[in-house]
């Protein structure tokens, strides 16, 4: 009883404290890119979600360690293999004052399922959402989907009446010549509401005191945030962004360049928050064509030979890349995804060792004692130091006899090229927004076209029937059977070497010394948990 009273008094005190010094807690935040749209179901890219997740919420949300947490649904359960039941949080209101209802949930899922939405992968197994009553929604899936709650974290809830009133029941209208209302306006339920928006200049978000989650913070379930206003400004030039941080014009830089980190650590007014990102870089081989497009080997494809792939794996001195190119800011790996992803197995996270002699021997054994030539395709502005990594790998391969010419391009032409399968070997970085193994397996390793969404980023056209079977099991099974399928898939990935995995990216954030915020591996700052002193 006494403890209960004390807790109550403490909560009242904290409430009073936050209310008293509320006005001055502004975080000025800078990153290189601006969100292209504020529509929550239009573009599935990090620069959009990093702003929208301050404003909108899904039925399921995340804890600071990114594990799923109760969001607009307080609890959920799999009633039948193809039916998930969600109990909605009561008393939630949108920022414009409308109450949040089961109808809004049904509407939002239907909206995210439209063909012009880029969020298809999160709702691909959903047949429909059904309002059971005011406070309950069922999601009926086409096939059993054990990881549905993980996937719908990315599906934000919109108000049905508001969307209809503004003629925004679709995520995008690529045919029309008019701007949709949702491109520059929002109406969410989240901790911050949009206060001002000038595209490419600034986006201001103000604390929504009515947010349900602030109470949970006071009760000690989660860190207590005190930020009342977020001002986001894109600053494209690396040097300018860092200068603005050093001069105190911004408080938080999401993407500081690696070469400035030491200076930022040493400077008195700034600090660096370190952490890993859920993004892995691979070298991917064309293992499909009978003759490579860009090589001097005619009449056969050397990458179809496992020994050649292994040789090129052995030839990469990943520690040198880690030390020199990445300045220590990478986590070297031998597997498909990092440990934050559900399904990760440490025993399978083993690399083929760096061994030039072994590489040469394997090449000779495969019938290429004098090596061959090949062109490596790379982006030069998509991943951290991507061009430098490829330069290093080209040199390492050339050293064992595989004469590698590098073609590094900006992301727009690079992605256009590899999406036409117009490549022999390329470097790809892959993030896992669902934090579940299936996302990577399905997009990168499934045979192309066997099911919707299968192999859509498998431009080396790797295909293994056993792998396809395992992926099919990952989609429908749950519990230990599913874990076993993932485990076997990871083992097969190591044996087949369709890729050479390189490392997981690190994403340091740079902040002014008076700001603290939990680092998130999805590179999304959650200002609800940020504290300004």
């Amino acid at each position: 009883m006494l403890a209960w009273i004390r807790a109550g008094a403490l909560a009242a005190l904290t409430l009073f404290a936050t209310a008293a010094d509320a006005p001055a807690r502004t975080v000025r935040w800078a990153a290189s890119g601006d969100p292209n749209t504020l529509d929550p179901h239009s573009q599935n890219v990090g620069t959009v979600t990093m702003v929208l997740q301050q404003i909108y919420e899904g039925l399921v949300t995340r804890n600071p360690d990114l594990s799923p947490a109760a969001g607009l649904a307080t609890s959920w359960s799999q009633e039948e293999p193809t039916r998930w039941r969600f109990n909605l949080r009561q008393g939630v209101r949108f920022h414009n004052g409308e109450p949040f209802t089961a109808e809004d949930v049904v509407f939002s899922f239907a909206r995210a399922q439209q063909p012009t939405s880029n969020f298809g992968i999160f709702v691909d197994t959903i047949d429909r959402a059904v309002a059971v009553d005011e406070r309950t929604v069922d999601i009926v899936t086409k096939v059993p989907d054990p990881i549905l709650p993980n996937k719908i974290i990315s599906v934000y809830m919109m108000s049905k009446p508001w969307s209809e009133a503004h003629n925004a029941t679709r995520p995008q209208n690529t045919r029309a010549r008019e701007e949709m209302h949702t491109v520059r306006n929002t109406n969410g339920t989240g901790p911050y509401r949009l206060a001002a928006r000038e595209p490419d200049v600034r986006t201001v978000m103000a604390r929504s005191d009515a947010w349900w989650g602030w109470q949970g913070q006071q009760q000690g379930e989660q860190p207590v945030g005190n930020v009342t206003e977020i001002v986001f400004r894109p600053i494209a030039s690396d040097a300018t962004r860092i200068a603005a941080l050093l001069s105190g014009e911004v408080d938080f830089v999401l993407d500081p360049p690696l070469q400035d980190l030491n200076r930022l650590r040493a400077a008195s007014g700034t600090k660096v928050i370190e952490g890993p990102e859920v993004r892995t870089l691979y070298i991917v081989f064309d293992v499909f064509r009978d003759e490579l497009l860009y090589s001097d080997v005619k009449g056969k494809n050397p990458f179809k030979d496992l020994r050649v792939r292994q040789a090129l794996y052995h030839a990469i001195d990943i520690q040198a890349i880690h030390r020199t190119t990445m300045r220590g800011q990478s986590v070297v790996t031998g597997t498909l995804f990092p440990e934050q992803v559900n399904g990760y197995a440490r025993e399978e996270d083993v690399r083929l060792p760096y061994d030039q002699a072994k590489a040469r021997a394997l090449l000779a054994e495969a019938g290429y004692p004098n090596g061959f030539s090949v062109a490596l395709d790379c982006s030069n502005n998509r991943y951290i130091n991507d061009e430098q990594i490829c330069q290093a790998i080209s040199a390492m391969w050339t050293r064992v006899g595989v004469r590698t010419s590098l073609k590094a391009q900006p992301l727009a032409p690079f992605f256009a090229q590899i999406q036409r399968d117009d490549t022999s070997v390329y470097m790809l970085g892959w993030g896992v927004p669902t934090l579940d193994a299936l996302y990577s397996f399905q997009s990168l390793l499934a045979s192309r076209g066997s099911a919707p969404g299968d192999g859509i980023w498998n431009f080396g056209r790797y295909s293994n029937l056993r792998m396809d079977e395992l992926i099919a099991r990952m989609k429908t099974e749950s519990g230990p059977a599913r874990q076993a399928a993932v485990r076997e898939g990871l083992h097969l990935y190591r044996e087949d070497v369709p890729h050479v995995p390189l490392h997981h990216q690190m994403i340091p954030w740079a902040v002014r010394a008076n700001l603290s915020i939990p680092h998130a591996a999805n590179n999304q700052p959650y200002f609800r948990w940020a504290v300004v002193n």
């Binding site: 749209t37 063909p115 701007e179 490419d200 200049v201 400004r233 032409p413 256009a416």
Partner: protein, 329 residues
Amino acid sequence: MFAFIVSRLLQALPVMLVVALISFAMFAYVGDPVAIMLGQDFTEAQREALVRDLGLDQPFFVQFARFVGNAAQGEFGLSYRLSRPVAELIAERAPATLELALCAAAMSLLVGVPMGVFTGLYRRSWLSRFFLTFSLIGVSLPTFLIGILLILIFSVWLGWLPSFGRGEVVQLGWWSTGFLTWGGIKALILPSITLGLFQLTLIMRLVRAEMLEVLRTDYIKFARARGLSDRAVNFGHALKNTLVPVITIAGLQLGAIIAFAIVTETVFQWPGMGLLFIQSVGVADIPVMSAYLLLIALVFVTINLVVDLLYYAVDPRLRVDRGASAGRA
């Protein structure tokens, strides 16, 4: 005079068309906008629908003809990147670029001309030598380096001026201006210097060379012999005659300032048209890129026309020649 304007306008049309064609043809190499719009996860059907909606499945010349037809009506379509009308985007960003270009041009004239006169008159003074050395820096250092140096000194070390953005702007109808607030004016200083430094040194060296030339002429000697004051000789007679080429160069450079504000705008995150263009290139936003290139071509063509007209007005010999040849015909 009227016939002259009309003939110049008719000459401008093919120039604009060629610019449109070249820029449009270039876009085949900047990448596939569809791949970028679709993001990481999509189906083949989604992709085909988008290509059809954007009209990218049409042959090149059909796409081009439609673009020119729409552009002639001021209709540039919707930006792929921002899902907003291109005309609106450009109108929103034009004031930022124009104010910056104006400040840079004004600074380069107000500082460049006096410096040029000074170095022309007092060739051996140590200050002239300093100015000339300093002007070498302006010519030889790349713009982005000057910008970053200025940011380092005035923002990071001294903390006097903002390192990025336009500061506070005031909205006057559709025009947003930074001239009316202290923050807006402070934000203009560093980008204007960065953008105008090259023009400043160019004008200074031009004025100096012209002054040296003019001061050697007989009528200056004669004016001095008449006992006119130094001031009257230097400014009334010498400077006035050096200004004709200066005006020409300054006018033509204004177009360059507007067009090449791209680098300065990127360094200072100045929300103008150049920054919009750079961001559009990154994601192959064809409607914005083509509209921007057309607009820049239009700016150059217009400025050229105005300069030609100024010649016509300033230099009496042009008029006489034309009148005489017309009389003979």
